[in-house]
Symmetry: C2
């Protein structure tokens, strides 16, 4: 194989793995996949005919954006979300964020809750992730959630076996997100990956 | 476009984004890319001619495996690794782990350190990620690190501007990892993504 071809393959591979080329290829080949969103946008948020969000799959292979921890022992034994929150954004919305600094229509963000498994390790005292407890998700959709603040709706699943769930009322999640999140309902102030990935204003 | 083609495109797209098909395609097309590892394996750990590991790139788009936090205020102001440790494995080694439950030759794991930015938020008291502080990495290579415990070597970068760095002596990192990590020098006990992704024994 020529040096040029090998270099090109290396670059293509990097692009593919970074999800960028995939995002662009989709524009050409799979534009009809979900007409709820703009043509050419791959969809990670799937709804059933009753408007319930299907439980997300493979989100541990999406883009991780941050992991706050609200431990039981710092919240009188009963934090709102126990305890680590591993938070992910879908890869195409991540690519869009890197280009525009905005959350596209169809963005899905998953929050997976993980217990504290240890408070002491070879690296020191602290909090170390234990067992998975469950997931929640939020989707931005200006058509489907036209009346919701900033067009986000929030979903909590009873268990990993849940197939789908209806959106929560605004007062359960949205009100707090809108009031306290740094940017468009998302707690960007606690997600260094998003902050670092945001393009500089031109 | 026919329903069949659309379904197939959807499946292909998912596979591509999960990195699996990419890994397989590489077997055919880019097998010569780095002859230090087995043919057909894409390489994320790149070394210069002096055996220094080039500083990893794009690792925030790899697979996140866990985020312990060892806060200053729980470690007399001076934890070994301040403070959050966002840990990632390269996508091809992740695919290998899911298939075999082993770390392949060439595995690279990156630990990015992030300060605690807040200890109180709308979701409760705890630790919330602040600013990036630096990165460290480890690579398993049975040829290059034949004499190292379990064939892992450890690398710490002075800054994000570092181009490359030499491996640490075993007593700086490897000894503690070998002694305390649950599996093959990796603290799998604190990484739920790895535990859940490991195939069941047949």
């Amino acid at each position: 194989m020529s040096q040029f071809k090998r270099t090109l393959l290396g670059r293509l591979t990097s692009l593919l793995l970074s999800g960028l080329l995939v995002g662009q290829a989709i524009t050409v080949t799979a534009g009809q996949q979900d007409d709820r969103y703009e043509p050419g946008r791959i969809t990670y948020a799937h709804f059933n005919k009753d408007g319930q969000l299907l439980i997300p799959r493979n989100y541990r292979e999406w883009i991780f954006i941050g992991a706050p921890v609200t431990p039981k022992d710092m919240n009188d034994g009963n934090p709102a979300f126990p305890e680590f929150h591993n938070v992910y954004i879908d890869p195409v919305s991540w690519a869009h964020w890197k280009q525009t600094g905005k959350f596209r229509d169809g963005t899905i963000i998953v929050k997976e809750l993980v217990s504290v498994g240890a408070e002491e390790a070879a690296s020191g005292n602290g909090y170390f992730q234990g067992e998975y407890l469950g997931i929640a998700a939020t989707v931005k959709d200006s058509k489907r959630f036209a009346d919701r603040p900033n067009n986000w709706a929030y979903f909590g699943y009873d268990s990993y076996e849940s197939k789908s769930t209806a959106p929560q009322p605004d007062e359960s999640c949205n009100t707090c997100h809108k009031e306290n999140a740094a940017e468009d309902n998302v707690f960007v102030q606690y997600y260094p990956v998003l902050r670092a990935g945001k393009p500089e204003k031109k």
